[in-house]
Amino acid sequence: MPADHAPTPARSAPAAPGVSARAERRAAPPRRRGVATGVVAAVAGWTLPGLGHLVTGHTARGLVLAVTLGSLWLGGLLIGGLSVVDRQADPAWFLGQALLAPSLAADHYRARLVAEHRAAHPDAPGGRLVPADRPPFEPSFGRARELGTLYTSLAGLLNLLAMLDVVYRPVPPARARRPAGATPTAGGRGVA
């Protein structure tokens, strides 16, 4: 377990007078949660980047991850088009892309478009679509394909880090349940 995530022992000293509620929340020690809850949060994070952190109370961190990883994944599709998410043509890259659930939806949609195209044009040659086939989407080549594949695969790999992080990250003090009658404690480190 990383040192940053180690739970800090609670101190019994009451908060000093004049300390704001926000400062008290920051000073309260983070609580550990069950691994099962963390796994549920990780699955939520796989569905949409940052959602795992959002549902466990790490709102700011979840928003940063949602914007960053979402932009990376959408940027990959914007640059490389739908054909960069292709389970059959690039299975190794797809392993990275599949660490974000929307990639599965994009691959399913691409496969459906290809199947419909092949059903409408049974005389078209098999194999990977080329522009001469007049496919339902333009296949990408060259730098656009490289960049689009890199963007979407890196978004998936970074999302794996985020999913592992949310499994082991302690519950923020603001959401941790306090025993009845307990007073906020000073000391310890807050988590965002």
């Binding site: 932009s71 333009e138 689009g148 890196l154 880090l161």
Partner: protein
Amino acid sequence: MIALLLAYRPFIDPLPVGPGPAWTLALFLPLVVAVAVAYKAIKLDRLAHVPGQALRLALQIILFMAAAAGLLVLLTR
């Protein structure tokens, strides 16, 4: 080129850049920044430190990529 741009459907078709003019290398910059921000947002305990640390990491990645590219140019010429 104008016909290509008019036919372009975002998120469905690739950017009409052809085999890859030199300016497309600049598209690596947002990639590097996003990787640095996401990594630091996961690693750091305080989110207030993320912008500075992410900028520093992004610059380090760019410098090392440039150094690796320079080394490869020297080795392959």
